[in-house]
Amino acid sequence: MARTLIHAPASARKGEVLEIRTLIAHPMETGYRAGADGRTLPRDIIRRFSCRYNGELVFSAELHPAIAANPYLAFHVTADASGSLTFTWEGDNGFAQTESAAINVT
């Protein structure tokens, strides 16, 4: 399991636009660099990120090797109901990780 950092407010007023910041520890090996033995290192990147709010897809992104190591993504979500935000990262070599954050909307 890769380490993740998720910055999402735990509570919000209804209709408030919240900034969500996410970061996951991942080397994002581009597939263009040479290793110590001179051979090109195989590509190992996170290809897709998605954020669901109570099961509904709110934001998704396709990442390419030009994304820096430890991919950071920040975006906004409108608070409309209490529940959970689910974050999913999927990538090469079967990489998949899901994290969630609870949100209380008043």
Binding site: H64, A66, A68, Y72, D80
Partner: protein
């Protein structure tokens, strides 16, 4: 006397040239899109014409380390079911691949602002493009100077 006026004139010319260079650097008129970027954009839009505006691509004009370059793309457009930003993509000119990131947005986001950190192989031009729900495409191109490149160590 004659010598003095000649000196004055050359000094004046020198000052004027300096001012001209200074203004040129400060304004840096946007360069037309390079062929690589135009091709990448065509691939994304499917041939639909793009317009400049609405999109603000925020990136440092001088990058000291190309391994992590923070970027923020802001689209000046409401996020309602009837009128919203559907997708935002970023393309580069001189990395091994043209694509950087492609995001799908929904009206539930409330605000069309996306930030991430990217790699830049060298000094180059970048473009951010946004697709609105009415099918129009808007772009903002920027030139970036990179002093320490990514992907070469």
């Amino acid at each position: 006397m004659n010598d003095r006026s000649r000196l004055d004139r050359s000094r004046r010319r020198c000052v004027a040239a300096g001012l001209g260079i200074g203004l040129g650097v400060a304004w840096r008129p946007a360069r037309a899109l390079s062929d690589e970027l135009a091709g990448a954009l065509r691939g994304f839009t499917g041939g639909v014409a793009t317009r400049e505006g609405k999109v603000n691509f925020d990136i440092a004009p001088l990058v000291e380390n190309g391994n992590t370059v923070p970027i923020t793309v802001t689209v000046d457009n409401p996020m309602t079911a009837a009128d919203h930003v559907q997708s935002i993509a970023v393309f580069n000119e001189k990395n091994p691949q043209r694509e950087v990131v492609a995001c799908r947005l929904t009206p539930r986001m409330g605000r069309a602002v996306v930030s991430t950190r990217i790699r830049l192989a060298t000094t180059q031009q970048l473009v951010a493009v946004a697709q609105l729900s009415d099918g129009s495409y808007w772009t903002h191109a920027v030139d970036v100077v990179v002093t320490l490149a990514a992907c070469i160590e």
